[in-house]
């Protein structure tokens, strides 16, 4: 009365039940393992039921007597994959939403494959034709999805490696790997007689190497400076005082910004701030900026060490009777570097001034911004 398929899945289900009991007895930390095992028991049970109900997909009258039924069904891993997907889904419910989503993905893929496979096996009496029919329907789905998945895995592995090795190391590694790929592909194309299995083997070895290196480096973690910079919140922090981070971006002055059409260039040289004002000339200590209008100033650092320009733009109320300085600043700029600072001052100087431009860490030199 039990069909072959249902026996197999009932076996798995029973085994999972037994193992989960043993697991319960022998382990302290049980939650997740138990969920997985009981999940396996339930899902294998469901598939066993499905197998039973459909008599392993055979034995109905038409299914046994039609010409198409002559071709023997091929073996299929999809019921197994479906079981696995269900387990992942159940584990996902108690752990990460991502795991849950992966479970759904596996289930959908397994269902689609299983359905189309069993349909195609009965499409005609010709096994070859049936295999072709399956491909016709599924390849257009399988190829792009698989390709995306493989590309994603490779990209993630590669990025883990790059984040773990040192800055210079990553550059060298990048050059070496891309050269290897280029050389390998050139050799393949020079020797068209090479066997596809050889190419596939080499590609597989390369991919496996990459993925395992990715997993290893994922365990090692990112290189020190990245970890520290992230902890310091360096990429987002808006600190306008002296720079406390050791690993701030040293190349900000190379970023793109509108460096022309500014009202003044503020230059730090020999510990002294001066302004080169459009239409007036160099060496100024004052610049006049229109009220309530975003205005750009270019900061140029000619000092030997890195500095930032900080603008004091008045005060703003933060709570009843409490005000806070409005500050804005450039990032740390290396020697010779330039960066634009856009400021907007809403009140005239006689209301909330004086408004100033200063360099944190360098005392006693500033530029006054006059708002009429």
């Amino acid at each position: 009365m039990f069909t072959t398929g249902s026996k197999f899945y009932l076996g798995i289900s029973t085994l999972a039940a037994i193992v989960s009991v043993v697991f319960l007895i022998t382990n302290d930390q049980v939650a997740l393992g138990c969920v997985a095992l009981l999940g396996l028991m339930v899902s294998a049970g469901i598939i066993a039921g499905a197998s039973l109900a459909s008599r392993d997909g055979g034995e109905t009258e038409n299914a046994t007597t039609s010409a198409a039924a002559d071709a023997a069904p091929t073996s299929s891993i999809w019921p197994l994959a479906l079981t696995l997907g269900l387990v992942v889904l159940i584990v996902g419910i108690v752990t990460e939403p991502l795991v849950f989503v992966i479970g759904i993905g596996v289930i959908l893929a397994a269902l689609a494959e299983w359905l189309v496979q069993s349909w195609s096996e009965r499409a005609s009496a010709d096994g070859k034709f049936n295999a072709l029919a399956r491909k016709r329907i599924l390849n257009p789905l399988e190829f792009p999805i698989l390709a995306t998945a493989i590309t994603g895995v490779i990209a993630i592995s590669f990025s883990r490696i790059m984040l773990a090795v040192s800055k210079d190391g990553s550059a060298i590694l990048f050059i070496v790997i891309s050269t290897l790929i280029l050389v390998a592909i050139s050799l393949f194309s020079l020797k068209p007689s090479i066997r596809t299995t050889t190419v596939a083997a080499i590609a597989t070895i390369g991919a496996l190497g990459l993925v395992s290196a990715g997993i290893t480096t994922f365990g090692i973690g990112e290189r020190e400076e990245l970890v520290i910079a992230a902890e310091e919140g360096h990429y987002s922090h808006q600190e306008c005082g002296e720079e406390k981070s050791k690993y701030y971006d040293k190349h900000v002055e190379r970023t793109v910004s509108s460096k022309s059409g500014v009202i003044a260039t503020v230059i730090l040289k020999d510990g002294e701030l001066t302004a080169k004002v459009l239409g007036i000339g160099e060496g100024q200590k004052q610049i006049t900026v229109p009220r309530a209008n975003p205005t750009s100033i270019l900061f140029q650092n000619l000092d030997d060490t890195d500095h930032r320009l900080t603008a004091y733009l008045g005060k703003e109320p933060v709570a009843e009777g409490v005000t806070e300085d409005i500050l804005t600043c450039t990032q740390m700029i290396g020697k010779g570097g330039k960066q634009v600072l856009t400021i907007k001052i809403n009140k005239p100087t006689f209301a909330e001034g004086p408004y100033t431009l200063t360099v944190p860490g360098i005392e006693g030199t500033s530029i006054e911004m006059i708002v009429p």
């Binding site: 059409g261 009202i263 239409g279 229109p290 009220r291 309530a292 209008n293 809403n346 009140k347 009429p372």
Partner: protein
């Protein structure tokens, strides 16, 4: 029924146009255009340079215009000759030639030479006009919908910042550098008698050099379409002799005099209540003696409204579109000789000279006078901020008081 419908679709009678009449009409039209270009009262005439840079442009454009004119006439005549001489009268197709190298090369070389010649002089003028290193005075010019703000940074002869709008006051014979920018959209500053145009672009500072040879008023116009009241976004450059300019600076920096009594005093209170949230009057204080600081950035989309501290020292208002002087007084200033002009301009606007009608209209309902997006029910897009000055629904009483108060601002 039937017969009526048929009647209606009867073919319309086509009047055959008389070609002579068309030619006569066109000739009349172009004649009128030609005459219009000779108008006497054309303050924005590009052919009458009144300053160094405008002169440079004129020196370039006149010969280029002449050359282009000659070429144009030659081409038109040649085309006319070809049209009439070789008209199809059924004559046989003439002998065809394929290529005449000498002719072709000549016809390429001559225009190339002309263009190269024009190009050299054009490039030279472009670089001349861009020169700023011998600047003698700088003024920040900020455009917004639909008026220009001027502020004078502290520099030789100006001991504290000055802020004004509409009329740009400059000393004659002085190389003035305008540093233009905008608070909202792109505008363009153009005083035809003094120089070419230069766009005022938000977030950027562009320079334009002006220099006036003689005292006087030079009219201009925003020349980059900037919205509803673009046509009402005008400006004037007022050139004063150097001595008069110094007097103007002193007057601009003179301390604020709060009116002591009467209608003007009441007007000050109305102004504080109704107007000072947008308009700054430097020196105006509240009852505690604290300065009143306007907040146009919270009320107007552009973030600014004209500073009215010395409002009556100007001759025009609201984007230099309306006169603050009545007809007689205006003519008296605008038609003054260069010697007399300065003193007349510096006198500002007196009660006798005030153009009461237009200013009252403005206070009564500004957007009715100058189209502005200021209807409070339609400001959802801008978060309640107006473009321009809204209708404040003032009573005639309040307007009387405000008129008296505004007259004291000079």
């Amino acid at each position: 029924m039937m017969s009526k419908a048929v009647e209606e679709i009867k073919e319309p009678t086509v009047k055959k146009r008389n070609p002579r009449r068309v030619v006569a009409g066109l000739a009349g039209l172009s004649g009128a255009l030609f005459l219009a270009s000779c108008a006497k009262n054309a303050p924005q005439d590009t052919w009458q340079p009144k300053g160094e840079n405008a002169q440079k442009i004129d020196d370039l454009q006149k010969p280029v215009f002449a050359i282009a004119g000659v070429v144009g006439v030659i081409v038109l005549v040649a085309v006319a000759v070809v049209i009439f001489r070789f008209k199809d009268r059924g004559q046989p197709i003439p002998h065809q030639t394929h290529g005449k190298p000498v002719f072709e090369i000549t016809m390429t070389v001559i225009p190339a030479l002309i263009l190269a010649g024009v190009g050299v002089f054009t490039a030279r003028t472009v670089f001349d006009l861009a020169k700023t290193d011998d600047t003698e005075m700088i003024i920040n010019v900020t455009g917004q919908q639909w008026w220009w703000e001027y502020d004078y940074p502290v520099q030789d002869g100006i001991s504290a910042p000055i802020i004004s709008s509409g009329q740009l006051v400059i000393p004659v014979g002085t190389k003035v550098l305008l540093r233009e920018t905008s608070r909202d959209v792109i505008h363009s500053y153009w005083i035809p008698a003094l120089n070419g145009k230069r766009d005022a672009v938000p977030g950027r500072v562009h320079t334009l050099r002006l220099e006036a040879d003689e005292p006087g008023i030079y009219a201009g116009q925003c020349t980059e379409f900037c919205g509803l009241s673009h046509a009402n976004m005008r400006m004037e450059a007022v050139a004063l002799s150097k001595e008069d300019f110094a007097k103007w600076v002193d007057a601009q920096l003179a301390a604020y005099q709060s009116p002591t009594e009467g209608l003007a005093k009441e007007g000050e209170a109305v102004f504080i209540a109704q107007c000072s949230r947008c308009h700054q009057v430097n020196g105006l204080e509240n009852a505690n003696g604290d300065p009143i600081i306007s907040a146009p950035e919270e009320n107007v989309l552009a973030g600014a409204a004209p500073n009215l501290t010395k409002f009556m020292s100007r001759n025009t208002f609201a984007g230099a579109t309306w006169d603050l002087l009545n007809k007689t007084c205006r003519d008296n200033v605008w038609n003054a000789t260069s010697e007399e002009f300065g003193a007349k301009y510096l006198a500002g606007v007196s009660a006798e000279c005030l153009n009461v009608a237009d200013l009252r209209d403005w206070l009564r309902n500004a957007p009715a006078k100058k189209p502005m997006y200021a209807d409070p029910t339609k400001l959802a897009d801008t978060g309640g901020l107006t473009r321009g000055m809204p209708n404040l629904n003032l009573t005639e009483d309040d307007i009387d008081k405000l008129m008296a108060y505004l007259l004291t601002l000079k």
